[in-house]
Structure formats: C-alpha cells, structure tokens
C-alpha cells in the first residue's frame, strides 16, 4: 500500500468515528457562542476540541484492538503513523479554519492543528483516552496559564510549544516502532 492509499484510509477512519463530527460541531457552535462574549479568548477554549480530536484519532485504534488490523494493512509502522499524522492535519486544518474565521486570525489555524498533533503524540505514548485527556487538559488549561502568569509574555505559538510537540511526536514514533502493538 502506498502512503497515499494509507493516507486516504486514515482520513476515512478518522472522519467516520462518530465522535469526530460531534466534537467538531460542538467546537464550532461553542466558538460562535463564545465570540459573542466580550474579551473571551475563543481559541483558548476551542483547543479543548482539538485535544479531543487528536486523542481520539489515536486511542480509537486501541479500544478494540483495531491497531492490529491497521498494521496488517500497513505493516510499516512509521508509514502508518505518518499517514495518521497527515490525515489528522488534513482534518484539523479546515476544522481550525472555521474557528479562525470566527476569531478572524489566521495563526489560530496553525496553533490548533499543532495542539491536535501534540494530543495525538501524547495519546500514542499513553494509548488510553482518559489519562491522555487528563494530562493534556491539565497542561493546557492549568499549567500553561499558570506559567504564563509567571513568565515573560510570548505569542501563542511559542518555542516551548513547538519543541514540546516535536519531542512528543518523536517519542511517539520511537515507542510505536518499538513496542508491541
């Protein structure tokens, strides 16, 4: 199977998870609603939806042993992960585009997609939905705001976020390559 076919398969797998359209619809409606509130940081809350998206993209493979079927279809593990990451990006960019249109800020697209990829990386390491969600939401909604209060201000897409995402993704690739599925 070529990477293109693997990518198509991953897009179909991701978009046919019932939770995915549900999550995206909720994010869009909530973003529209929150944008009516003065001084509300819509992207800050919308990122929760992209965390869920990224986590589900990975943990759905593990809740019923689907990962073994996937690996029969695409035996090269790095190829499978790459296809998954590309499919997640391809889903996340248009989804984030809607949020970006609501807040009228293009960088929001890159930020939210980065969050989805980070979430997928953490989920690939943890392999379980609830622990992955707890870690991610705890970091993004409790630790990060706290650090922001005590550190010099930066943009939303900061060097630590980029480095963290890349690090997590690299760790996810290595662990997926080496661990039993």
């Amino acid at each position: 199977m070529t990477i293109v076919a693997a990518f198509r398969a991953e897009v179909i797998k991701l978009c046919t998870l019932p939770a995915v359209p549900g999550t995206l619809l909720t994010v869009w409606v909530a973003s529209l609603g929150l944008s009516a509130v003065p001084a509300a940081d819509v992207v800050e809350y919308a990122q929760a939806g992209f965390v869920v998206l990224g986590v589900l993209a990975v943990t759905s493979e593990y809740s019923g042993g689907q990962v073994r079927t996937s690996l029969v279809g695409v035996p090269r593990r790095i190829e499978l992960l790459t296809a998954k990451a590309l499919a997640l990006t391809a889903t996340s960019v248009p989804a984030a585009g809607v949020v970006a249109a609501v807040v009228r800020s293009v960088p929001a697209i890159w930020y939210l997609t980065l969050v989805a990829l980070l979430a997928a990386g953490v989920a690939a390491l943890v392999r379980r939905t609830l622990p992955a969600l707890t870690v991610l939401l705890g970091c993004l909604f409790i630790a990060v705001p706290l650090i922001r209060d005590h550190a010099p201000p930066t943009g939303r897409i900061s060097a630590p976020l980029l480095a963290g995402t890349l690090g997590v993704l690299a760790a996810a690739v290595i662990s997926f390559h080496r661990r039993d599925a």
């Binding site: 929150l34 509130v37 800050e44 609830l130 939401l137 705890g138 909604f141 706290l146």
Partner: protein, 231 residues
C-alpha cells in the same frame, strides 16, 4: 455497608484513581506556593478551587471504569455486568458508589485544604474550610452524575476541567448574563471565596444550597438513566 466497602476497594484499586489522588494532593499546594506573594482575601482558598482536576478525574473514573476497562487487551470487558450481578439493586449500587466517592474525596479535600492553606499562610476559619471541602465533594458527585449520563469520561472531563481554569467558561458567561452566577461552580464557590470577580451577593449558605441543588438534579438524572437503561 459491605457494598460501600466493596466500592471503596474498587475505586482505590484503580490506577487512575491513585493518579487522581496524587493530582488532587499536589496541584492546589503548588499553585498556592507559586502565588504565595499575591495577597488577597482569598489567598489559599482560590488556589484550592483551581486544584480540582484530581477530584474531577476521581468522580469520572468511579463510573467510567465500570463501562470500559481501558487497556489494550480487555476491550469489551464491562465490569458493570459483574457489579450488578453482585449487587442487583441499582439504587443500592449507586448509593454505595456515591458513598465511597464522598468518603474518599472528603479525606483528600481535608488533607489538601490543610496543606494548601498552610502553604498560602491563609486565615483559617472553620466555615470556609468546610465550604471548600463540600465544594470538592459536590464537584466529584457532579462529575459522577454527568458520567452516568454519558457513560464515557470524555465529555465530563473536558467540560469540567475546562471550567477549572483561571478564566472559566461560566465566569465569561456571567459577564454577559448575570444569572450565570447561579451556575453550580460559581454559586458553590461562594461557600469559601469572599472576594472574587463574580459577586451576585449570594450568601455562603445559599451558594452551597444552589450547588447542592444542581448536584442533586444531575445525579438524579444520571441515576434515572442508570436504572432504566440496559447496563
């Protein structure tokens, strides 16, 4: 009593529950330590309110673990079937679950409150500490109630953790709609928060009652769903 004991052992036998206890114990004191130079009437108490993540996780896993033991190999293992075989009365099972959760969270909250308030060097009044503990217990029960309705932990985790941030969603809504002060988290926090940004003039006891009311409604809805649906 035996059922409560069984539920307590089930809850404390879950690895995620131990993670949640650790989170609950650590988050609030750490925030209090970082904010120790910020002086306010709510020093210590405000940080205690931010440290709820562990309690939320406890409330969620108490129920969601019955429906899906999250491990790669035992997909489809539904402990709820075994639990209901042992305790066929659903109301009794739920009551025992709520009892075990309340017991666990009360102990956790008492210890965490003591540590957090000491770190923050806060003024300790019995009424406020009690209010803070009740707030954590009710939040855990609220999480349990929502999880009973959804059966999966994703929705309650996202909704409740999102709302423990410094600028919570309910707080934002309350700026547009003052009635939002009657949301369970905002009303309940009046039990121990004296200053704060949302003040509808709700008295501590009233706030506690409002939050109790919300919790009762959500838990009852969850219980009705649990009793009527197939397990």
């Amino acid at each position: 009593m035996r059922v409560v004991h069984a539920e307590l052992r089930k809850l404390l036998g879950l690895p995620p529950a131990w993670g949640a206890l650790a989170l609950g114990l650590v988050v609030a004191p750490v925030i209090a330590y970082l904010n120790r130079h910020v002086s306010s009437v709510d020093a210590g108490y405000q940080e205690f309110a931010f440290g709820m993540i562990g309690v939320i996780v406890l409330g969620v896993v108490a129920v969601s673990s019955e429906y899906r033991a999250e491990s790669a190999e035992d997909a489809g293992t539904r402990q709820i079937v075994t639990s209901l075989t042992a305790v066929p009365s659903r109301v009794q099972l739920l009551a025992a679950k709520a009892g075990a959760l309340t017991l666990t969270v009360t102990v956790l909250a008492a210890v965490t409150a003591a540590v957090t308030l000491t770190v923050a060097d806060a003024e300790i009044t019995a009424a406020r500490v009690l209010g803070a503990i009740i707030y954590w217990v009710l939040t855990a029960l609220l999480a349990t109630g929502i999880t009973l309705l959804t059966r999966s932990g994703v929705v309650p985790l996202v909704v409740l953790i999102l709302n423990t941030t410094v600028v919570s969603v309910t707080y934002l809504i309350s700026k547009v709609l003052s009635a939002a002060g009657y949301f369970p988290d905002l009303a309940g926090s009046r039990m121990f928060i004296r200053g704060g940004h949302v003040d509808l003039g709700i008295a501590p006891a009233t706030g506690g009652l409002i939050m109790c009311g919300w919790t009762a409604v959500v838990v009852t809805a969850g219980a009705v769903a649990f009793c009527r649906r197939d397990a």
